[in-house]
Structure formats: structure tokens, C-alpha cells
Amino acid sequence: MSAPSMEERKACWGARDEYWKCLDENMEDASRCQKLRCSFESRCPQQWVKYFDKRRDFLKYKEQLQAGEYQPPGTTEKS
């Protein structure tokens, strides 16, 4: 299976961003964003769906940390 082309990548990112926007608006309630979730899963390779889900979790976690007193040190980005 060859990697997604640039166009396919951008379609995937767009679907992901819409799904995430829906989650933002619905307090992370995934049940309200089913349609966008389906769209996201169909446009992105399965590995990427998993990766982006983990990334979302990480970003939310980071937000929570930063909202509190404790500021975590910068972490090296890994793909």
C-alpha cells in the first residue's frame, strides 16, 4: 500500500480538523460527532487514525496540565 498523496493527506487533515472541531464544541462527546468520525476514518489510513487519536489525547492532556499550576518542560516532537 503506497502512502497517501498530498491531496489525500490534505483531505485527511481536513476531515480530522472537522471532527476535532466537533469534539471541541461538544465537550469531547464523541457520540455527537459520529458522522464526522466516519468521514475522518474513511479519509485517513487506519494507522493515521490511531496516531491522530493519540495525538488528540496528548494535546488535551497538555492543555489540562497548562491550565493548572504546573508547566511541563517542552518535549521533543516525534512523528
Binding site: M6, W13, Q47, W48, Y51, T76, E77, K78, S79
Partner: protein
């Protein structure tokens, strides 16, 4: 000579008048005017003497400073020569790689000598970071191309996932970023070899597993093939361009 003023009996400290009339004039000749028997006829003579002293002091001071500066620059020159010799050894001894570019042509380190190179390690199945960094790198190249007095930079992408990224996959990938972007791939052993050549020269990453993790770094290589600088995710296109321009302007080849 002024006559000694008689000491007051019982006093251990020299009287003020003695300090003023005997001690100070010796230390500061220009204070003599009021005492009897001053060595010269008046103020101008002592001022000339003072100026002469000052001039001599300045000359000695200047000579000392000059010597010190000369010795320091000599030392710096020696250190610089030593550094160049060390770098030459690293440039030659830094190992080689044997990869294939996205047109199927074999490539090794020698192919890039004489060119400035921007190098990025990534893989085509990378979800977001590699495309973003390659887009950034391509934009840097486009911006530098707009300055005709600067040498052209060769952007290079080396896959860290040779099992999936064969020549065709790499060709399809690099084509979408910049026409000059060269993709390199090869056998897993050869890719590991190439990664070691540059990885050891770059900043350390905690994780050595190059398939799953890789340093998100864009490397700048000089025309001598030496690693000169690196740019991480936080560096913008403008910052990188400025940095590269600076390196190009101050660059002097080791091998001339």
C-alpha cells in the same frame, strides 16, 4: 630645601605642616610652588615634567597593550588552523553512504560535495510532521532561490523506512514538494549507515529506534560535506533562511 619645622614634643604623628611641605611635594612635584627653594622657576617647568611623565607612561602602556593584543591574535590564529585540520579529518573520515535516488541513480557522499545541502530524514507514511517539515524546507529553498547572489541549495530527503519506501514511493512523495527535492532510499543496512553518518553529527535524541522515531531535524551541510547547523520544528522559514545566508557569507572551504 625648606628648613625642618621643629617637632612638638610628645607627638608621634608627623605634623600637618610636615606632610604638606616635605612629603607631598616629593610625591606630587607640581605642589612645590609655595615652598622655598623649588627646583624650577615656577609652574610651567613642573607641568612640563608632568606631561613628560604622562607621555612616557602612555608609551609604555601602549607598547604593553600592543604586545598583548599581538600575542592573543597569534594564539587565535594557531587555534583556528588547528580547528581546520581537525575538521578536515572529520570531513574525510566521517564515513560514506550508498543510497539510490528517486530516479534510481546511485548516490554517495561525494555526489553532494561542492553543494550546500538541506537534509531531512523522514518516511512517506508519516501522518503530519514530515510533510510539514518538507514543506518548510521547500519554502526555505524557494526563498533562497530568490537571492541570485547566493549559491543554490540542494534539498534532500532520506527515508528511514526503506522497507516501505522504495524508489517509486519516494519519487511519488518528493515530487509534490519541490522539483529539486532529491529523495534517497536503499537497503535497510545502507539507510542505517547513512543515518549514522549524519545522526552522530547532529543533536542527540533519546530514542535510537529509527523506524518508529526519528529526530525531527533539518540539517544544513556545507559544500565540504560537513554538518554546519540544524533546525528543529520551532524554527520558521525566515529564521532558517537568515541562518543559512549567514553561514554562506562567512563560509570558507577547508579544501581549496
Amino acid at each position: 630645601m625648606t628648613p625642618d619645622t621643629p617637632r612638638r614634643p610628645g607627638k608621634l604623628l608627623p605634623p600637618v605642616s610636615w606632610v604638606r611641605n616635605q612629603l607631598l611635594p616629593v610625591l606630587i612635584p607640581s605642589l612645590r610652588p609655595f615652598s622655598q627653594g623649588a627646583p624650577s622657576s615656577g609652574g610651567s617647568g613642573t607641568r612640563l615634567q608632568l606631561r613628560t611623565r604622562l607621555l612616557i607612561t602612555c608609551l609604555f602602556g601602549g607598547a604593553a597593550l600592543g604586545t598583548w593584543l599581538h600575542l592573543r591574535s597569534e594564539k587565535e590564529r594557531q587555534q583556528k588552523l588547528q580547528r581546520i585540520e581537525d575538521l578536515k579529518k572529520v570531513a574525510i573520515g566521517q564515513g560514506d553512504f550508498h543510497l539510490v535516488d528517486h530516479t534510481g541513480q546511485p548516490r554517495s557522499k561525494a555526489d553532494f560535495l561542492g553543494q550546500w545541502v538541506l537534509l531531512y530524514f523522514g518516511f512517506t507514511h508519516c501522518p503530519d510532521i514530515c510533510p510539514e517539515e518538507l514543506e518548510k524546507m521547500s519554502q526555505v529553498v524557494r526563498l533562497l532561490d530568490q537571492e541570485p547572489q547566493l549559491p543554490r541549495v540542494q534539498p534532500v530527503f532520506i527515508t528511514v523506512d526503506p522497507e516501505r519506501d522504495d524508489v517509486a514511493a519516494v519519487a511519488k512523495y518528493v515530487r509534490e514538494f519541490h522539483p529539486r527535492l532529491m529523495g534517497l532510499t536503499g537497503s535497510p543496512e545502507h539507510v542505517r549507515e547513512a543515518y549514522r553518518v549524519y545522526y552522530s553529527a547532529g543533536p542527540r535524541d533519546e530514542d535510537e529506534d529509527y523506524i518508529v522515531d526519528h529526530t525531527v531535524i533539518i540539517y544544513l551541510l556545507s559544500p565540504d560535506g560537513l554538518f554546519l547547523d540544524y533546525y528543529n520544528r520551532s524554527k520558521s522559514e525566515a529564521q532558517i533562511v537568515q541562518n543559512i545566508r549567514g553561514h554562506m557569507e562567512t563560509y570558507q572551504t577547508l579544501f581549496s
